[in-house]
Amino acid sequence: MAQQPQHTKTKRYGMVIDLDKCTGCGACMVACYAENNVPFRQDDSDKMRSLNWIRVMKVDNGKAFPDTEVCYIPMPCMQCDGQHMQGHSPCVSVCPAVATDYDYPTGIVSQIYTRCFGCRYCMAACPYHARKFNWWDPKWPADMEKYLNPDVSARMRGVVEKCSFCYHRYQKARDKAYVEGRDELHEDEYQTACTQACPTNAITFGDLYNPEHAVHSLSRSKNAFRLLERLNTNPKVYYLSSKSWVRRVADNYLEGENPEQVAKARKAAATH
């Protein structure tokens, strides 16, 4: 890391999603909408225009019944570290307004709505389509405004928004730690809304640098992979799957390529 602040130990918050456990129920999406004041429209059938900070993609193995297999892939912002792990993520490097920024103490990619002027370079740069543009001012049904989360500011028309790994929860947890005179957060003190909402516990969240956090070992398991790994964006969202065809759809592999072998070769190249 290029700029480590001296007063805190650098964290690298990340997520591991077990695709074998994900049922595609969409509870994570619902929880995210409620937690982060994500607006929706009365007619949200045009999915190209709808906003969501995490969305569940559906893929299948392309085979006819009875060999069809389906996998659901929940996709939040991947919070890329960028090549060389220095926060040079695709969106941060193209933003002309410094509206999106790599938060070195946590590794979370921020999005500052009041700074964004809506050029949408970041959306073009993001290979994961994690970013959404507010084409309209948000409008909530009459009484629903009372249920908005005061810890997350509502966005206006003309700005880009994306998943923040529920950063406001991190800040609240830190405040509690300060008052109790602690420097470190417990693993369960800072969890994202989607993680807590998942009924099958498919999502695990924590500090990838901390060996006591579950994500540390999960992200290093042999079934772990990331989406479009060969772009070197270094996402902090890991996926687990025991199925080789799922690993295959996670990146653009050539016909003769074997995802496991490619991953092994990459690992070997990285350690040498």
Partner: protein, 213 residues
């Protein structure tokens, strides 16, 4: 001969019209500066009085000299801010002194069970996250460092509200150019002021997410 004198008058005319242009330019410049630096800021802010003229000094003496007797941290790490009516009522259910402000407080708020609509000088816009815990507990700062010596004031100063944004003038400071005010008297909390102090104390201006939400 005649051409020479013509040239002279023309030159004199040029010189005097140069002065005229300069004088008018200066008049315009001064007028612009006055309207921009003095008149506009005055017009931009409306002045409001606090609902009750609160005496911090008296309360500080009565409450044992601690700010956190009334402005305290909750267990979850959040900061209580201004006391609620419930907290004030624990002492002021009935008049304790002959003070007219206390009488007004009891008549208008305690007896009618209504919260006092205090005007918060340092209230930040809703897109800003400010952590009192990080500053007071984490960095061990004194309240007066940012708020000034408000604990020893006997009267509340007027509240100035930006007519366009509705925010307090304290966020910007008295003068946008910081004319005639100390650098850190707690009278302005602009982003640059935060960043300046963070750079000095922590070695980094901090990342956007630290303060923005």
């Amino acid at each position: 001969m005649s051409t020479q004198s013509d040239n002279q008058t023309a030159a004199a005319g040029n010189r005097s019209s140069g002065w005229v242009v300069f004088v008018f330019f200066m008049i315009g410049l001064v007028a612009s500066i006055i309207s921009g630096w003095v008149a506009f800021p005055e017009l931009l802010y409306s002045t409001k009085q606090q609902p009750i003229d609160f005496n911090h000094q008296v309360h500080l003496e009565q409450m044992g000299g601690q700010c956190n007797s009334c402005h305290f941290f909750r267990e979850d790490g959040s900061f209580s801010g201004s006391p609620t009516l419930e907290e004030c009522k624990s002492c002021h259910m009935y008049p304790m002194t002959g003070n007219e402000n206390e009488q007004k407080f009891i008549d208008e708020y305690v007896n009618q069970d209504k919260e006092v609509p205090w005007l918060i000088y340092a209230e930040q816009p809703p897109c800003v996250f400010f952590s009192h815990a990080a500053h007071v507990k984490g960095a061990d700062m004194q309240c007066a460092t940012c708020h000034g010596d408000i604990g020893h004031s006997t009267s509340l100063r007027e509240y100035q509200e930006n007519r366009i944004t509705g925010y307090s003038r304290d966020i910007w400071g008295k003068s946008m150019l910081r004319l005639g005010e100390p650098d850190h008297g707690g009278r302005h909390q602009k982003m640059n002021d935060c960043a300046e102090c963070h750079l000095k104390e922590t070695g980094s201006k901090g990342d956007c997410f630290q303060c923005h939400k």
